[in-house]
């Protein structure tokens, strides 16, 4: 009887604050290990870091079957990834998620963009104009995050995840 009353008392007072502390500590650990954005995950790191997920970018480089090095845009106007997929990869750049992006790019139709050596990855359905298909040998996916220093007043990007290579 006493034990049950103590347990209820404990639950009423410490269950939710305990959960909050556990999730916040998990978020801090994930931010330091897998590159989780400080703004997400329940660690109360928003308004402490310039590393917002929407400022991050997914950098995709590929080697074509004829040995050319190209860049693949999966962000701006590409339809390959849904908004939710893009947000998830940028916020939590886990290796399995990056690998899955690489696999998708490897088999996706690519259309040339208005920038040299940059292609847009599309879904099969949305690849409207049938240009010459681009055969890819390898795809490397990496998430980059912004950095800023007040004294330098410069912003620049650096990798926040490891570069994951996917081969045909």
């Amino acid at each position: 009887m006493f034990q049950s009353a103590s347990l209820i008392w404990l639950l009423q007072r410490w269950a939710v604050p305990g959960l909050m502390m556990a999730i916040a500590v998990r978020q801090i650990v994930l931010a330091q290990t897998v590159g989780l954005s400080a703004w997400h995950g329940g660690g109360f790191g928003m308004f402490a870091s310039v590393d917002r997920d929407e400022r991050r970018l997914i950098k995709v480089e590929a080697m074509t079957c004829d040995g050319r090095q190209i860049q693949v845009d999966v962000q701006s106007s590409s339809s390959l990834l849904s908004q939710a997929e893009r947000t998830r990869v940028m916020t939590v750049p886990r290796e399995d998620l990056l690998h899955s992006v690489g696999q998708k790019v490897l088999t996706a139709p690519l259309t040339p963009s208005d920038r040299p050596s940059v292609y847009l990855a599309e879904t099969s359905e949305s690849a409207a104009i049938a240009s010459a298909p681009v055969c890819l040998q390898t795809v490397t996916v990496q998430v980059w995050r912004p950095h800023y220093r007040r004294r330098l007043n410069q912003i620049w990007y650096a990798p926040v995840s490891s570069a994951i290579e996917v081969q045909l």
Partner: protein
Amino acid sequence: MIRALGSRWLQAVAHWLNQPRHLLILWLTAVLVTLQGLDELYLDQLPEKLLAALMLSVPQMLTSPIAWCGLAGLMVGSDIFFWWRLVNHEYLITYWVLVCAIAAFNQFSLKILAWNARLLIGLCFLFATVWKFIGGEYLDGSFLQLTFLADPRLAMGATWLGGIAETALQDNYSRLLEMQTTAALGPTPLNSSPLLSAMSVVLSYWTILIEGITAIAFLSPWPSGLFRHRDVCLLLFVITTYSVIPVFSFAAILLLMGLAQCPTRETFKSALYLNLFVLMPLWLPLPQAVFYLLRQLT
């Protein structure tokens, strides 16, 4: 006319505060769950919003433990599935609904609500302060300076505090967008000013100070003077922060939990929390509105 309106408003606030406090808290919580994030609604959040709206319209449901457990279950389920998408105040609102669900089995005891509200506020400020130390971008003013220069929501601060022209800010936004779209990742300078640079450092230390003090005030009964004046810290933080950075839901959950932990005998503070919560659509966007109006006029 204005005096009569003010008098009727005060009567309404007094009426709300005179009803059982737990009912007021539950009602405001259901309002918050229904309205928060409506501007960017995800389908998975629809069931919890519908249930909260139903609890507001059926009085028996507002005090039903089953309804609160259902609401907590829906919110926890959605949060587990989409944890990477949520921002901090969404976690905080879910924690608070969990507290309401737990308290429901003890006749919504004010002691349980107040205890948890105090701890949740304190922990929120504690972790916010910890992040400002471990993030490595806050103590030298870097975070705030970039936020002023690159976040349109802080254009008011950049212009009024830092003297940055609107065209210079627009140029910064374009440069950042270009970096992201062209993947030009090398160092890029932004338009700034020495005044904004200095203000960023001052405001960084002010924020750390007020957040750190608020964390101590809510988590520790010592020093007793600080503990007694914890509401002043929280109210000062809410008013000074969210009038510059209008984040409705975060301000709302802090004010709601502030009211929940405020002793009922403290009528002035309770009324202040309630007024700020209910009048948020007026006072929170006011400075920004004045800023944009003045900008249009000039």
